[in-house]
């Protein structure tokens, strides 16, 4: 509880420092959810080694399904955090962009025939083409934001409206199906490895991003542009270029997420694929305690936020909530979290607890 912790900073500085850290919000949410599940049904945490339909041994269980299906969201959260930090706005077109790059991937893999018996191009080529297309769309968004100074949400509204239509157009509104088995490894399991591949891909993405942040100044530049664009220009940075770059990087994340999404089912449904994922990605960033108005950011907090959302989704499914009614419960939880972490509420709470602490000794003395 933030109220208790805030009230005692002089005595336990370490504790206070921990509670002030940004990552505490998603961790607290995660712990609360885990505790709730533990009380409601301890079997939630059971993990089994089972044989899947192809005869391979894989891990299964709720926790595994969380880290499995949360991967796309976590990868998107990486890029979304950068975009949010640099431009002080969010990209709402990621869902539509996933549809586009998934569609491009299938087009390259299947050629003109929508149900080929063999792959028309190597998977790596399809992935690269999809990355390029997706980064080009990212650059389009970024250019609108950086050079034309359009607010990010409005600029990406363009691709949001057009994206799924473009995706349908690329494949002539057909739904190509990839029959190759190796393609489905990336969205499910590689034979012999019991951990779902999407999670492995996500981990690789985190490590690459972490190294990228560690050995370049990008993170510092992005933060300085987000905090004050004019000052960073005076310090010799090029804010336009940095903003553009964050959008292109988000494009790359989108392509990888699309790769996983398409590989899961070996086909695509333009109107449904990655629906509402933009909202979840933005929520992940907000849950991670990052200011949505730009500036300082923490990647790990966002990624944790993404898994919190997936944890919540899986928990709700466990309690047999209808998939369509899910958003209502999600909304309540999100509002509760956001209200608790709002600065004004925190202040009020700490004031209240101070009052109580003052009253208690007075009562004792009397």
């Amino acid at each position: 509880m933030p109220s208790k912790n805030k009230a005692v900073p002089p005595k336990t500085p370490l504790w206070a420092r921990i509670t002030k850290h940004q990552i505490i919000i998603p961790i607290a949410a995660l712990l609360a959810l885990a505790l709730f599940n533990l009380i409601a049904d301890p079997s939630f945490f059971r993990i089994e080694l089972k044989e899947n339909s192809a005869g391979n041994m894989i891990l299964s269980g709720n926790l595994i399904s969380i880290i499995d299906s949360g991967s796309e969201l976590a990868i998107l959260a990486l890029g979304m955090t950068l975009v949010t930090a640099a431009s002080g706005g969010q990209d709402i077109s990621v869902g539509a962009a996933i549809a586009i790059s998934g569609s491009v991937m299938l087009r390259v893999l299947c050629g003109n025939n929508s149900h080929p018996t063999s792959l028309q191009a190597p998977i790596i080529v399809a992935l690269l083409v999809a990355c390029l297309v997706s980064m080009a769309f990212g650059a389009f968004n970024g250019a609108l934001v950086a050079f034309f100074k359009i607010q990010p949400m409005v600029a990406t509204l363009i691709l949001f409206t057009a994206g799924r239509s473009i995706a349908a157009w690329i494949n002539n509104n057909e739904l190509p199906i990839v029959s190759d088995e190796t393609f489905s490894y990336f969205g499910n399991n590689i034979p012999g490895i019991p951990i779902p591949t999407p999670f492995l891909i996500a981990i690789v993405c985190f490590i690459v991003t972490w190294l990228f942040m560690k050995f370049t100044n990008i993170s510092l530049y992005v933060q300085s542009v987000g905090v004050n664009e004019k000052t960073s220009r005076l310090n010799g940075l090029n804010p336009e270029f940095i903003k553009l770059m964050t959008y292109v990087l988000l494009g790359l994340c989108v392509a990888i997420a699309a790769f996983i999404k398409v590989s899961r089912i070996s086909t695509i449904n333009y109107s449904v694929v990655a629906k509402d994922i933009e909202m979840d990605a933005i929520l992940a960033v907000a849950l991670g305690g990052n200011a949505l108005s730009g500036g300082k950011f923490s990647m790990s907090a966002s990624v944790l936020g993404a898994y919190v959302i997936q944890f919540l989704t899986t928990t709700l499914y466990k309690f047999e909530v209808k998939a369509t009614a899910l958003p209502a419960y999600k909304a309540v939880v999100v509002i509760a979290l956001v209200v608790l972490s709002a600065p004004t509420v925190r202040e009020k709470l700490s004031q209240l607890s101070k009052k109580f602490r003052k009253k208690a000794p007075a009562a004792k003395a009397a």
Binding site: K149, A155, I158, S165, P327, A328, Y329
Partner: protein, 366 residues
């Protein structure tokens, strides 16, 4: 701060071109709309020659006009409300269930619609204005909540067969004779509109007056233009933000009932994407997401242009579903770029003007 329409202080400003940003952007929208209509009238002909086609278009989009008006108001104040589509769908579903399954009264259903809108507005407004949570997150949760709640109330789409309601739904208002048309057999058909259009136009007029000539209306512009300055001028910024959200959601409730009167059914998939269409029309009408700039008349024409281009696209022969999305996006893109170029040029010109003769007008203004 971008300039506000003709305020009394306008006379003191440096003698620059007479048109303000708001009026210029609105003028562009109106010109584009007229050009499109003339194109449809003289080149495409077909149904466009009959005034009834245009009237039908307005009848279909009456709800969107109401939603977009509320959206403009929030955007002028510097916020955003993406829950309007969800509220619209929630209103139509709950009214449908109430009328059909509980044998309800039409007037009580209207109260229900207004009540739902008010409830959303008060909660969201409180969270945004007084707890200072990002409007995007709050209204996003609002949208999720509304959409989820719909399926909890009822899952399947159904038509309403309540007698009073069907009567109300089929009521048409007959317009003067010169708008009517004659069939090939020589029978005269008078032009008609739905009740929703009257409601929408009334709301447009009321909001126009409020924004232009009342203290509250000017406060919206002041808060959106520069919150800090507004606070220093003694404006209660929190209350202004609160009121803008309440009005927006209230209008979403009314718009929801108008939509319900048009479709006459309840369904979870109603009004999908309405919030994005409302934002798009407000932007095309010259409202800016940064706040402080906007015009209700522009919004009205924004909705009309958006709906007109959709029907033009489908009548030109590009009737595959994806063309609509792509055209709207292209239109939005062009408008945004034009807007940003105009604003940038104006800013430069203003700066020059201010640099040339600093002392006299500035002193008088302060």
């Amino acid at each position: 701060m971008l300039s506000v329409t003709s305020s009394p202080e306008g006379k003191l400003k440096a003698p620059r071109s007479r048109m303000t940003d708001t009026n210029l952007l609105t003028a562009i929208t109106i010109v584009v709309f007229i050009a499109m209509y003339l194109y449809a009238y003289f080149v495409l002909q077909e149904g466009f020659v009959k005034p009834q086609t245009m009237l039908n278009l307005i009848s279909t989009n009456a709800y969107l006009i109401i939603l977009a008006c509320g959206m403009s108001l929030v955007m002028i104040t510097g916020g955003i409300d993406i829950s309007v589509g969800g509220v619209t769908a929630l209103v139509s579903m709950s009214c449908a269930v109430y009328l059909d399954m509980h044998g309800g009264n039409v007037y009580v259903a209207m109260l229900l619609a207004v009540g739902i809108g008010l409830a959303f507005g008060i909660v969201q407004g409180f969270l945004v204005a007084y707890l200072k949570i990002q409007p995007f997150i709050v209204t996003l949760a609002g949208m999720f909540f509304a959409r989820g709640l719909i399926t909890i109330i009822h899952t399947n789409p159904f038509n309403v067969e309540n007698k009073d309601f069907v009567e109300l739904k089929d009521t048409r208002i007959t317009l003067p004779d010169f708008l009517g048309s004659t069939t090939r057999r020589g029978r005269f058909i008078p032009a008609t509109i739905e009740i929703g259009v009257v409601v929408a136009l009334a709301i447009v007029v009321i909001l126009f007056v409020v924004l232009k000539w009342t203290k509250l209306g000017r406060n919206f512009y002041a808060v959106g233009g520069n919150r800090q300055s507004a606070l220093m001028l003694g404006i209660n910024t929190q209350r202004t933000t609160f009121i803008s959200h309440v009005i927006c959601s209230l209008l979403a409730g009314i718009g929801g009932f108008v939509y319900f009167m048009h479709v006459g059914s309840g369904s979870p998939s109603h009004a999908t994407g309405a919030e994005m269409n409302a934002i798009a029309s407000a932007i095309i009408g010259g409202t800016m997401l940064t706040g402080g700039v906007g015009n209700i008349i522009g919004t009205l024409f924004g909705v009309l242009s958006l709906s007109l281009i959709q029907s033009i696209v489908s009548s030109v022969g590009l009737d595959q579903a994806w063309w609509t999305g792509i055209t709207i996006a292209a239109m939005l893109c062009i408008f945004l770029v034009v807007q940003s170029i105009i604003i940038a040029r104006r800013k430069k010109a203003n700066m020059k003007a201010a640099n040339v003769k600093v002392p006299k007008p500035k002193e008088a203004a302060s």
